[in-house]
C-alpha cells in the first residue's frame, strides 16, 4: 500500500505516481477539496481517498477502482471509460458527465445534471438527483434510488433511467416506459454490482420517445 499525503505533496506528484503504477493500492489523505485528484488513470489500481475532493476527481478513469470517503465536487468521474468510482458522500453537479463505460456509485445524493451526455456508463445513486439529470444521455443506465428533479432525461437518446422515488417534470422527449422482466433483472444485477440495496420492483423506467430524432415540423413546439 502506497500512502500519499496531499498536505505534504502535490496533486501533480500524486497523479504522476498513479500514472506510473501498473497495479497496487494507494491511500490518499488530506485531499481537502483539491481538484483533479486521480485523473487519467489507466491501470487496475485501487485508490482510496480519505476526505472531500474538488472538481473532476477520477476524471477519464480507465480500469482503476477509486473510492472517495467524503463528498466530491463537480464532474466526478467525468468521461469514465471503465473501472469503478465510488463516492461515500454526496456529489456536486455533472457527476459522471459523458461517461463511456464503467460504474459510478454515489452513496449520498447527486446535484444537477448527473449523467449528462452519458455514452454507455452506469451510474447508481443511492440518494436523489437534481434537475436536468441524464440531459442528452446517449446510452448507458442511470439508477436513482431516491427522487429525481425536474427535466429528467431532457433530449435523451437511448440511455435508460430508473427512478424509485418521485420524479419532477420530465424533460423534452423523455417518457415513462414499461418495466419488462429483462429490465427488472438488469436493474437487480446493476444494484447488486453497485452494492446498493433497493427493491428492483420499486423502480419505474424512463427513456426516449424518439420524437426529436429527426426534425419533424409537427414536433417543432417540443424543441
Amino acid at each position: 500500500m502506497t500512502e500519499f499525503d496531499l498536505s505534504r505533496d502535490s496533486v501533480r506528484a500524486l497523479n504522476q505516481g498513479l500514472h506510473d503504477s501498473a497495479e497496487g493500492r494507494w491511500l490518499v489523505s488530506h485531499p481537502d477539496g483539491r481538484h483533479c485528484i486521480a485523473v487519467g488513470l489507466d491501470a487496475p489500481v485501487d485508490v482510496a481517498i480519505k476526505g472531500h475532493v474538488g472538481y473532476y476527481c477520477a476524471g477519464m478513469n480507465k480500469r482503476a477502482n477509486i473510492t472517495i470517503d467524503g463528498s466530491a465536487g463537480p464532474g466526478v468521474a467525468e468521461n469514465i471509460m471503465s473501472g469503478t468510482v465510488r463516492v461515500l458522500g454526496n456529489v456536486s453537479h455533472c457527476a459522471g458527465a459523458s461517461g463511456h463505460g464503467g460504474l459510478l456509485v454515489v452513496e449520498g445524493d447527486a446535484s444537477a445534471r448527473c449523467g449528462i451526455s452519458m455514452k454507455g456508463s452506469d451510474i447508481v445513486v443511492a440518494g436523489s438527483v437534481g434537475h436536468m439529470s441524464a440531459f442528452m444521455a446517449q446510452t448507458g443506465r442511470l439508477v436513482v434510488c431516491g427522487d429525481a428533479g425536474d427535466h429528467l432525461g431532457d433530449s435523451i437518446y437511448e440511455a435508460v433511467i430508473y427512478v424509485a422515488g418521485r420524479v419532477g417534470e420530465l424533460g423534452a422527449d423523455c417518457v415513462e416506459k414499461e418495466m419488462t422482466p429483462e429490465h427488472r433483472q438488469g436493474l437487480a444485477d446493476l444494484l447488486s454490482a453497485a452494492g446498493v440495496e433497493a427493491d428492483p420492483d420499486s423502480f419505474r423506467r424512463y427513456g426516449s420517445a424518439r420524437k426529436l430524432y429527426n426534425f419533424n415540423i409537427d414536433h417543432a413546439s417540443d424543441y
Partner: protein
C-alpha cells in the same frame, strides 16, 4: 427635382421594377420557408460580402526599408506553438495549420488526404466532432485532438496519443451554436463512433457538459494537463464575438494557444441564419485579439492561430503582419481537394446547384467525394491524389507568404508587422487598425 428614385434602373419599365426590400433571393427564401417550415441548413461559410484581407495592401520595401532577394536570401517560416506550459510544444515548418473537420462531415479519404499532405509539408491537422479515426492518427504526424461539447468518441487513449488538445468553445460559423450532422450522413461507422443510433439527426451540444464558465474552464484545463502529465499544449478555440473578453479569459484560464475563428469560417452544416448573422469578421477579430494579448503582455507567449476565410498566401501574410502566429484553413483545404471543381456536373445539378455555388456538404452527396460517406462518391477522391493536391496548394501559399515577407525585408514571416500595411477602405482601416492608404488616419484609434 422629381427625378427617378434612388436605385431605379431606368433601362427597365416600371412594371419590371425590382424591390430593394424584397430582392429575388429574399423572395425565394420566403417561398422556401413557406414550403418547408424549417430554416435552411447548409455547408460552407458566409456568402455575403464582408471587409477582409483583400482590403489591405503591403507597402513593400523602398528607401527606408531593405528588401530581401527572392529565392536566394532565407525567409524562414517555422513556428512553435504551445510554449507557455507544455513540455512538448508543437513545432511546425509552416504557419498554416489544417482546421478541425469532423470525420462524419468529411469522409475517411478526405481526412487521410489531409493528414498525409500536412505531414509531408510539416504542419498539423486537427480531429473534429466525432473523435479521432485510426486513419487520421496514422497519416498525421502532428495531430491536434479536439475536446468538444458533444464529447462524441472522447477517449483518454486518444488524449494521450494526441500532439495537442483543442478545447472547442465555439466556431466562427456559429458562435453559440452546437454541431449538426443530418441523418443522411450518419452511417454505421459514424453512429458507432458517436454512440448514437444510425440515421438520426445529430445535434451536438453547444455547451460543454461539465463546465460552465471561465473559472470552471481553468480547472478543466488543469485536469487535461494532469491527465497528459503537462506534456502537450492545450489550445482553446473560440468563435469571434466579444473577442477582447474571450481572449483575456482564455489567457486567464491557462490556454497555451488561442484559435480564433472569424465569422467567415466554414462549416459542414449550420443554419444559414447563423452563418450569415452571428459573429464578427476575421479582420476586426484578429486586431482585437492581438490588442488584448499585448495589453496582457502575452502576445507571442500565448500563440494565436486565426481562421475564417483564409484563401491565399497574401491573406496569411496579412494575418501574420497583424500579429497572428499562424493561420488555420478549412474550406480552402477542401477546395484544394476538389470542392466546387467543375467536374461531375450532373451530380452538382442533382443537388440543385452548379460548380462554384455548391454549399451542399450537409447532404452527404458531395459531387467530388470530400464531404461524403458514400463509397462511390468517396472513390472520386483517393487519399494519395488528394494529398498531392493539398500539398501543392500549401506549398504555393508558403511561397506567396515568403514573397511578400521578402518584399517587406523580413527574414522570418513572423517579422511582418502592421507598419508594413495600409487599408483600402475606411472600414478595413478601422477594423484592422492600419492607416487608410495615403493617410496616417486609423478611424477609432
Amino acid at each position: 427635382m422629381f427625378g427617378p428614385a434612388r436605385g431605379t434602373d431606368m433601362s427597365k419599365p416600371n412594371s419590371l421594377r425590382p424591390s430593394a426590400t424584397f430582392p429575388l433571393e429574399v423572395l425565394a427564401e420566403i417561398h422556401r420557408a413557406a414550403d418547408q417550415g424549417i430554416y435552411e441548413i447548409r455547408g460552407f461559410g458566409t456568402k455575403r460580402s464582408l471587409p477582409n484581407f483583400d482590403d489591405l495592401l503591403f507597402l513593400g520595401a523602398s528607401m527606408s526599408r531593405y528588401p530581401l532577394e527572392g529565392y536566394r536570401e532565407k525567409c524562414a517560416t517555422d513556428v512553435t506553438l504551445g510554449t507557455r506550459f507544455a513540455k512538448r510544444p508543437v513545432e511546425l515548418k509552416i504557419p498554416i495549420t489544417i482546421a478541425g473537420m469532423s470525420f462524419g462531415a468529411l469522409g475517411a479519404h478526405a481526412k487521410e488526404a489531409i493528414g498525409r499532405a500536412a505531414s509531408q509539408i510539416g504542419t498539423s491537422t486537427t480531429t473534429g466532432d466525432g473523435g479521432m479515426t485510426e486513419e487520421e492518427r496514422q497519416s498525421s504526424e502532428t495531430l491536434i485532438y479536439q475536446v468538444l461539447p458533444s464529447r462524441y468518441g472522447l477517449n483518454p487513449d486518444d488524449v494521450r496519443r494526441a500532439d495537442a488538445l483543442e478545447i472547442v468553445v465555439g466556431q466562427g460559423a456559429k458562435p453559440g451554436g452546437g454541431g449538426m450532422l443530418l441523418g443522411q450522413k450518419i452511417t454505421e461507422r459514424v453512429a458507432q463512433m458517436r454512440d448514437l443510433p444510425e440515421g438520426i439527426d445529430q445535434r451536438s451540444a453547444c455547451r460543454h457538459p461539465d463546465w460552465t464558465g471561465p473559472d470552471d474552464l481553468e480547472i478543466k484545463i488543469q485536469e487535461l494537463r494532469e491527465i497528459t502529465d503537462w506534456q502537450i499544449p492545450i489550445y482553446l478555440k473560440i468563435g469571434a464575438t466579444r473577442v477582447d473578453y474571450d481572449v483575456a479569459l482564455s489567457v486567464k484560464a491557462g490556454a497555451d494557444v488561442i484559435v480564433l475563428d472569424g465569422m467567415q469560417g466554414g462549416t459542414a452544416a449550420t443554419q444559414d441564419v447563423f452563418i450569415e448573422q452571428v459573429g464578427i469578421p476575421t479582420l476586426p477579430a484578429l486586431r482585437m485579439a492581438v490588442e488584448t494579448l499585448k495589453e496582457l503582455g502575452m502576445h507571442r507567449k500565448v500563440q494565436l492561430i486565426v481562421s475564417g476565410g483564409i484563401r491565399t498566401g497574401s491573406d496569411i501574410a496579412k494575418a501574420l503582419a497583424m500579429g497572428a502566429d499562424a493561420v488555420s484553413i478549412g474550406s480552402a483545404a477542401m477546395v484544394a481537394l476538389g470542392c466546387n471543381k467543375p467536374v461531375h456536373l450532373e451530380d452538382y445539378r442533382a443537388l440543385g446547384t452548379e460548380p462554384g455555388y455548391c454549399h451542399h456538404c450537409h447532404t452527404g452527396r458531395c459531387p467530388v467525394g470530400v464531404t461524403t460517406q458514400d463509397p462511390e462518391l468517396e472513390a472520386r477522391l483517393m487519399p494519395e491524389q488528394g494529398a498531392r493536391l493539398l500539398r501543392n496548394y500549401l506549398t504555393t501559399l508558403t511561397l506567396e507568404i515568403q514573397t511578400l515577407a521578402r518584399a517587406c525585408g523580413k527574414s522570418h514571416v513572423l517579422n511582418l508587422e502592421p507598419e508594413d500595411m495600409v487599408a483600402l477602405t475606411i472600414e478595413a482601416s478601422a477594423m484592422a487598425g492600419v492607416p487608410l492608404a495615403g493617410t496616417r488616419w486609423i478611424p477609432g484609434a
